[in-house]
Amino acid sequence: MAGVWKRYDDGRFVLQNVDLHVKRGEFVFITGPSGAGKTTLLSLLYGAEVSDRGQVFIAGHNITRLRRKELPHLRRGIGVVFQDFKLLPKRTVFDNIAFCQRVIGVPAREARRRVYAVLKLVKLAEKRDLLPRFLSGGEQQRVAIARALVNRPPLLIADEPTGNLDPKMAWEVMDVFASVNRLATTVVVATHDRSVIEYIGSRTLSLENGQVVRG
């Protein structure tokens, strides 16, 4: 990400001349107070927002110049985890994850195999037939992580993934991120939870008023 500026409709700058370089396989935290621009920065990474100025590169591809119809293909290489999980309430744990496989046209048998594998990774294989409302917050977040990982993305982005979790659950979730990172997946996590950052102890980039103040 080089010289990125982003302004919202009210004219306020959310990001100002942000430079960020994340190496392949790295684990990076983006921290800062609420409104610092963490979520916007992540949105630029997976193409939900477009920068007003500057360039964003993912694995060598300039996504600011990406055409609309190329965006889905970029997103298949990026797993995204949200604070509010964004699970589909009427689908089981299994279907929530398998759904992502269907979307990209993975054959049913292969999809089933991948979903079981990823459910084992997040230790939820035995809860595959439950609806999300029967799971704890930590379990729901692990389902969201499983969904983000099932397409085997080289990049995992998480926006305040522990925001709705108690410390024990938060650390469980961070353990999953750490183990994914050990499998060579690049992980970028936005959080303002210092305990989580200290728990993992990775490189941290601080944002304040849309500017990088440390990193």
């Binding site: 889905p72 970029l74 046209g105």
Partner: protein, 302 residues
């Protein structure tokens, strides 16, 4: 494209799932579509039958060319030649003065005595010109009459041109009415289906957001909703056809037999009408849903 075909069972399943989840709205949509398409079908039946009736009347249409008393065989042959040069003419029947009188006598029946003593050539000889069925138009009749009217030996021409003109206007008016009402009803069906799909999209907005995040293409997101719209129109078409078939056979035909004593034949409600209604329904569903989903996805991008 092959991936699209592979995914089709999924699209179909999703469409059925949407329809089952919003059962009430779906039933209402199919019902309204059925009523709209039923009216379109009924108008089509009326149009076909009136057109058929008019075609039958036109079959009887002919032009009569009356000759003067002193018209020579040469002049008559010249007229025949001019008439036959017109592609619209199917045949010419010649009627001599004696044949004309005989025909008139038959028409008068018991009163034919009034013609006694008037001689054999009180009525003029004539040609009865019959046009090809596809050429019985006002323009062709006028063309032929203009060619013959001023020829030597021709006294006058008689035809049903005014009647033909009226028929042509009736057909035009009928066709215009059928199309106008059908288009209005079709638009109504289109907007009803579009509105149903809009509600489904609203109910499914979280699914759509997740689909975008995990890399679904717009086409993949769009197709189940378009399938749903098509299915609503398709079922509406089937129900409309079945209802018309039922009304036609159970009520209309028996009533017609009673009141017209079987003298009035109605064109049957055939498979073509079924295809027309089901096809129109499915197409309207497709158009309505495609319009709504495209608009929704476009809004999402902004």
């Amino acid at each position: 494209m092959s991936r699209w075909f592979q995914s089709f069972p999924y699209f179909f399943k999703e469409a059925i799932l949407h329809m089952r989840e919003s059962r009430g709205v779906t039933v209402l949509t199919v019902l309204t579509t059925t009523i709209g398409l039923m009216f379109i079908g009924a108008l089509w039946i009326v149009h076909v039958n009136v057109a058929h009736l008019i075609k039958n009347w036109r079959e009887r249409f002919q032009i009569e060319v009356y000759f003067t008393d002193n018209a020579t065989p040469f002049q008559k042959d010249a007229v025949r030649e001019v008439i036959f040069r017109t592609r619209a003419v199917e045949r010419i029947a010649e009627r001599s003065a004696t044949q004309a009188l005989e025909s008139f006598r038959r028409q008068l029946g018991p009163d034919a005595d009034v013609l006694n003593g008037l001689g054999q050539s009180i009525l003029p000889s004539s040609y009865l010109v019959v046009l090809h069925s596809g050429w019985r138009t006002v323009a062709n009749v006028e063309l032929l009459m203009n060619k013959v009217r001023m020829m030597p030996g021709v006294e006058r021409l008689r035809n049903d041109l005014a009647w033909l003109r009226r028929l042509a206007s009736v057909i035009r008016l009928l066709r215009l009415t059928v199309w106008t009402v059908s288009i209005l009803l079709g638009l109504g069906v289109l907007f009803i289906i579009a509105n149903t799909i809009r509600m489904t999209l609203y109910a499914r907005r979280d699914d759509i957001a997740v689909m975008h995040i995990v890399g679904a293409t717009d086409g993949f997101i769009r197709t189940p909703f378009i399938t749903e719209g098509m299915l609503c129109g398709f079922f509406g078409g089937i129900f409309a056809y079945l209802t018309l078939l039922l009304v036609h056979h159970v009520f209309f035909l028996p009533m017609l037999a009673i009141y017209t004593n079987g003298s009035f034949l109605v064109q049957p409600v055939g498979w073509f009408l079924g295809l027309l209604l089901v096809g129109t329904g499915a197409w309207l569903g497709l158009a309505g849903s495609a319009m709504t989903v495209s608009h929704y996805l476009h809004k999402q991008r902004e």
